[in-house]
Subunit: 320 residues, 2 copies
Amino acid sequence: MSAQPPVPPRRAGGEFALIDWIRRRVGSHPRLEVGIGDDAAVLSWPEPDSALVAVDMLVEGVHFDFQHATPEQVGRKALAVNLSDIAAMAGRPVAAVVALALPRGRDEELGQRLHEGLVGLAEATEVVLAGGDTTSTDGPLVLSVTVIGTPLPGGPVLRSGARPGDRLLLTGCLGQSRHRHHLEFTPRLDEARALCDSGGLHALIDISDGLAADLYHVLTESRVGARLRARDIPLREPRSATEYAPDGRTALAHAISDGEDFELLAAVEPETAAQLIAAPPFETPLADIGEIVAGNSAELLMPDGRSVPLPPLGYEHQLD
Amino acid sequence: MSAQPPVPPRRAGGEFALIDWIRRRVGSHPRLEVGIGDDAAVLSWPEPDSALVAVDMLVEGVHFDFQHATPEQVGRKALAVNLSDIAAMAGRPVAAVVALALPRGRDEELGQRLHEGLVGLAEATEVVLAGGDTTSTDGPLVLSVTVIGTPLPGGPVLRSGARPGDRLLLTGCLGQSRHRHHLEFTPRLDEARALCDSGGLHALIDISDGLAADLYHVLTESRVGARLRARDIPLREPRSATEYAPDGRTALAHAISDGEDFELLAAVEPETAAQLIAAPPFETPLADIGEIVAGNSAELLMPDGRSVPLPPLGYEHQLD
């Protein structure tokens, strides 16, 4: 009898073809001692004695649909949101594993295209796709990505380290998620590294739930309050902060309440913050949008001089 | 304004209640420097400079249904299959992260019960539940677990190290998956450690796809063949190997073809193997079921003295 390729009974042939494709697509990587094809992946691990782990699951019909996003964009995003989380810890991503539930009867190419987008970003960020699990489902497509990494020197930087007097610095601009930004954003890994290298970084978070909500994560964990200046919050919209967008809400309201901007919000010691603003260590815009104060709540100084309370969700009516 | 708890707009209240419950349920752990509640988990990492990563996704209606399994069993199994993979690398699991897509309208308690089963096994195996992502879905429940770990001293042990002359040792017995074993099995972590400590362990795999299929994984990766003795394959059924089960297949056919036994199959240097069989270092039964030979295929010595080729799936007709 000649040897036959192993064909485990639990899996469909299409899934094995996909796994083979992924294995070839990923290729070799200096950190990947054993990749796809054994019981688990083996990674050579960098020196730090801590590991970072982040996981995110995207569900078709809940987080995306293929009318508004290509499979490549969905695959890329599933990795990018995790890289944003690792950046927000002042970390360096090392490896990712992917679990995919592919709807029965859907084109097998769909799995390849999802991975194509994911692997493209992995290569660009020097992350190794170390393994995965592919299965079928009678429901919508589900893609779950786990990323492990290590803290940068000076990291990890948590949400809990903000102190009164710290400046609040924001990378990039807000209110972008309506502009497909959430499908195309670049995780702020380099910016996180530069902020961490500054030596004055006290707290860090990525804006995934919206500026107001994510600011409150920092305030709650650090037991502090904050004062933001609306005038200094960088908006994607070229129009003024208080002008109404087509949906009847102001650009400022969108900037504060919309999620998925995936910019970094940093609490930085004031002198370091001034240096960073004067000579930003990266090309991405960096803005000083306010300060950490004593207390446990946030207020927003409006362009017209009013000061309004800023609750976790952003008071849309007050802002509009 | 008094501080309000952060309520990110992207998530439903029920999901936050579940996350809070999980956070309390998991509690503290010596390895968990930062757990649920920041952008990523921070783990203190043991000394080895390699990391192991395994991932497995369970889909309702494909891998389980709640008519035949309790939520606790499903949650436990989602972790257990990964621990079995880590064991099969001669590894020690350190941490797990969980991604859960919970069908809209399903009882919130379901998420808790899944995690209860999972955390129970995590505690029993000293694995820390480091984080997760909980979301909703319009489809079936999907549970994806990623486990990271470290190789044991002497590990990792791959599928590719088997050599002609090695004995094939099997923990426990086979043909169990029809007996709810797949919902209740204990991952063979201790057994893997003892096999690795023996110093003669050349290759290791867990029986998830079935003995024949998983044996072929070892044969293919190691570029060797194998000879198994049917008489020595331990069966869950008390009846003889060639007696027919109620479904018309022999107990031996079930043992060789059925997946989800989650026992370990080890290729061990002959002298060490003899010592292990003479004085097993653990209470779990350990059987010598055959040997690695040159070539690239497997044959099975039947109880009646016939020698039959054993293809990856097991030739059910020949065996029956």
